[in-house]
Symmetry: D2
Subunit: 365 residues, 4 copies
């Protein structure tokens, strides 16, 4: 009767999950929980939310009892928790970046493959229905051969910090190399942008040239980057990503230019997608309008309510979880970012860091 | 630990509810369920979704066992179901319009009062955080004395119908006076607009002058209306509402002009609110930005995620339910539309119909 | 060689003109002059700019020597000056409203016809290229049968006045019935809106129902109006016009809904026109893009520079003058508002005033 | 009486000018002429419009008789014509790029200085009133220390070409190294972007890293570029410029991020400027609103009509000419781009070409 998504595991029980992290003051933990609840995908049965170090005990406790573990901790523990959970036979949804290093990401990918476990990474922007439409328009050849991509991911969050006082917990770990890893802005949000480019265009980034900066007072890690990318097929991309773009909230804006048409998607107006041709009017697609379904079954399927009634960030997040839980249920691939994307994004992070260190020269990824 | 809203009834149990209507093909039923789940407000324990006529049995079954009943049926059964549920001691969330007539609405209000039951009506637009901010800006005197209101509620849904074929179920009942009542567009979405005006401005509509039309082929009810309103304090409003505004999806756009400032809210860009003063820059407020909380505690409290990460229609709906469930739990008033608003909107509908019938003259509401 | 418009009169001389009004502090006088100069249409050879009362002498002086007179004075002298100029054998471009009363407008129309003189009225908004495109789309049947029109013309100019001090000259005459006539906002800018509706839709307004207000302190004339209109073919319009819409600059926004498509034009983004169909993407037309010329020769002809390089208010004004000067040169009709539009707009003003006086009932125009 | 700008030369005569280029099919020639006429700055008294090679004779003819020469030819003749005109004692307005090489630009600067001639270059975007406001906001310290600049200049003009046919004249010379010089897109529109950055921020670009592409079929010159810039004070810029950005018209969009605030200007909505602070609402400034004058006298002075009545590209062009003609009249500096800007933009072009040739490494400019 209901249009909710029914998710049961192979034994016919409703899916269950536990969570590490996501306690008081967490941004992302509640989003995981709301997203899962909205579509009634799974029941939260255990967790160590604010006492993250208790994760070993949690995994022991949950062994054989839950379907998946959601990892919402700072970067430095992703690898160890995900590894332990996979090896305990759990599927895992692990926050980005997947790990502190490419080596760790590669190892997690191998473990997941060996153990036949599902590993998901919530690159949220690929969950927006209009991003799926963008991807499917490209795949149908609507844009022709893609030549140029322009991507911005601009936040001003580090401008809201009063640096004369001790940093609050969330900002503190993001600027701390021990917690955040060798990169701040590139590992934290740059990976979203990188994934978005590859997801929408279907092209592979071959090399990068990056110029990193640390503009926030006392910040030892990158908080701003300008990155050039060369992609398969000869396409080029220009990508700026920042946490010091004063006054920006979450400015993810993607432009893709092919030789037949172009597209523009702005996360802060996510229910729309603009497509432009050389000799016709600009066309504004609206989420879940009837003509969308004819082009992108996925875009329609991942929409809940009609055009004009907007869906937002939590819904996009839930779309990632829908596909992930379907994989948990079916034990086969679905449309969500997994270990391959986790490895590629870590390749990207390391290539960016090398390029910056080596005088902004091109580095293969 | 969690930032979810914990809702328990007076006996310390989680809230439970049942639903009438909202089965296959329903627009609004799934929204009720998703909204409730997103914030983990209550558990759905019973329902007659597609076999609406079984509501008597449902109420009998649930008597004493559920906290509230969600009524998602066509207009003609709202009154009877709500009445029976209230008299069975249940709280009720009943879709708009509350009833087919003012008399019925008045009776429901009386029953709810006498039985001390909570009766909610999801006038969704009043659940958007930026509408709460608008209301609170007005209440603080930011706009000064309000003189003029311009409201549009423009849909093009009736232009998407192929009238050469039998109507689908949803459109059929909306155009059928026996199911829809004496009004279509005014009762269906005009009541949202009326409520939005009174909710944001705090003014009371005193009289209306309305010109109704039926532009859709074969439609015997109103599908387009131009309505003038006179409000307390001498303010005037111009309101257009339509289901034949070709190409519009859900165009709710509110402008309020005071003698000190004005505001503009567009549902299709609901995370923003524009405020204009005679001698300063236009100011764009963003949902859940730090400066919003300083003005409107409610706007901040009814937001889940930071500015730049958009919330949409389901979240606004969930906000109505949050406040409703808090009332169910606390047995006292909270910030959601109830019987008073139900009665006023039905007064509005009847006054509009009288005005149109009487040569578009002014009618008191 | 040049793409400038070459304008010569029947004797092969460049056109010449004189101006009454438009002196220091004038808004509209300089616009007339800039518009004429931009396209090199005519030479200004005489004028009484700040000493408006010298117009009799000016007309005597210029008799037989100029091609046309531009009348940029307050409303109360339009009739007398235009009449004298027409009778002196001059063509006339007269600011709106054409006169203080319908009777005067009718008389001017008759004089112009009898004397075979060209009389133009700068209803500027009809000079915008995207308005021409809108008109031509409607004329081609792109929208189908038009059912509903929603028009706003919202200014906040009267909110910028400090009423504790003497009014400046421009505001003073607009609020003074002796200078402004029996209406302020309707005669001053309402006529623009009325003309825009008839120009774009090709329909004729048959009757009006109006509710006028005077919100500005001490204002004896209307500064705000809500007007309902019934048009030929059964279409209806809702029109709000105001000078007390705090914070608005010059908010002319037109929506036209047909049974096949709709259009939206916003003067404050005048280089674009949005067209929406029930089952396709929203389409954004851009001024002077190649596909525009294929639909509207006029829209392309009245554009000077390519899409992406915006034209504005002065250019639209110049378009009115281009067509007017072509008529002066050719002694035949061109595409600009003339006596017929002057008379119709005065009919509208008088019908609005009657409706408001008679308890907001319908009045024929 | 008039608000037109009165321009006379040192002998008390109205300014006069001649033009080379700007004949049939020219984009920019008519804009020069319309801009000059709109503000009544000077009279066009001679020219070789379509027979550009006749410029020697023209200069001879006009020697001592005109105040300035407007050079609207393809790039390859800028240097020779400007040089001859300066040496003939004329002031010169020369289209961008000033020359084919830095050496030529440097020589022109020296000649102008030695001969005490005025040399102007119409970097149009610096003539928009809201760009002047942007510059003045930065100069007042409103943005604090500038860290990051993001600039796009995106056109899709080369996507409108049918490469299976012979190119039309305008596109042909832009892709021909003999006519266009060693660069196409960077020299043609990249210089506008470079100038805009330095004009608004007051910072100096120290070095560039550029990656050029030729995506249009058969194009031997650059038609797309991604450029990183390092500026004085430690600021960094990311700049993308293209003629193959399919569907873009003239997408000049500037974002400047300081440690206190940021600004955003979009040429295709040129009458607005957005300013964002970390803890306040986004503020939209509107051209010629009263509060603009209080911040930027220049922005107000270079506006002709009130906020809400838009000005566009021709008006911005006219602003460059206003200042240039004032310099011609006064024989002293005014607010327009001259030889210094011409030299700097050519330095930029050459550094970009070197960087691209040298494996995209940093090059000093």
């Amino acid at each position: 009767m209901d249009n909710k998504v029914t998710m049961e595991n192979q034994e016919g029980r409703r899916l269950t999950y536990a969570m590490v992290g996501g306690g008081k003051g967490s941004f992302i933990g509640p989003i995981h929980r709301m997203a899962i609840r909205m579509d009634d995908l799974a029941d939260l049965v255990d967790g160590c939310y604010s006492h993250v170090d208790d994760w070993h005990a949690l995994i022991e406790r949950c062994r054989g009892k839950i379907d998946f573990l959601a990892v919402c901790t700072p970067n430095d523990s992703h690898y160890a928790i995900a590894k332990a959970a996979l090896e305990a036979g759990m599927d895992v949804m692990c926050e980005k970046p997947l790990s502190m290093s490419l080596a760790e990401a590669t190892e997690l990918e191998a473990i997941a493959r060996r153990r036949r476990r599902i590993l998901g990474i919530p690159f949220t922007y690929s969950g927006f229905p209009m991003v799926k439409l963008a991807r499917d328009l490209v795949a149908r050849g609507e844009l022709g051969k893609i030549d140029k991509i322009v991507l911005e991911y601009l936040q001003g969050s580090f401008r809201k910090i009063d640096f004369s006082k001790p940093l609050d917990k969330r900002n503190a770990w993001k600027m701390d190399p021990r917690k955040s890893g060798p990169s701040c802005v590139v590992a934290d949000i740059g990976v979203h942008g990188f994934h978005l480019i590859e997801h929408v265009t279907g092209l592979k980034v071959g090399s990068v040239l990056a110029d990193l900066s640390s503009f926030a007072p006392g910040n030892r890690l990158d908080d701003d980057a300008s990155i050039l990318l060369r992609l398969s097929g000869g396409a080029k991309a220009s990508f700026v990503v920042s946490k010091v773009a004063t006054g920006e909230e979450n400015g993810v804006r993607l432009r893709v230019y092919g030789d037949k048409a172009s597209l523009f998607w702005n996360q802060e107006a996510n229910n729309y997608l603009s497509v432009k041709h050389p000799f016709g009017t600009e066309q504004i697609y609206k989420r879940n309008a009837p003509y969308v379904a004819a082009i992108s079954e996925t875009s329609a399927r991942l929409s809940r309510i009609p055009a004009g009634h907007h869906e937002g960030f939590i819904e996009a997040f839930a779309n990632i979880y829908r596909e992930f839980c379907a994989a948990v249920r079916d034990r086969k691939a679905h449309d969500f970012p997994g270990p391959r994307e986790g490895v590629r994004t870590m390749r990207f992070v390391e290539a960016v860091l090398r390029s910056n260190k080596n005088g902004n020269r091109w580095e293969k990824i």
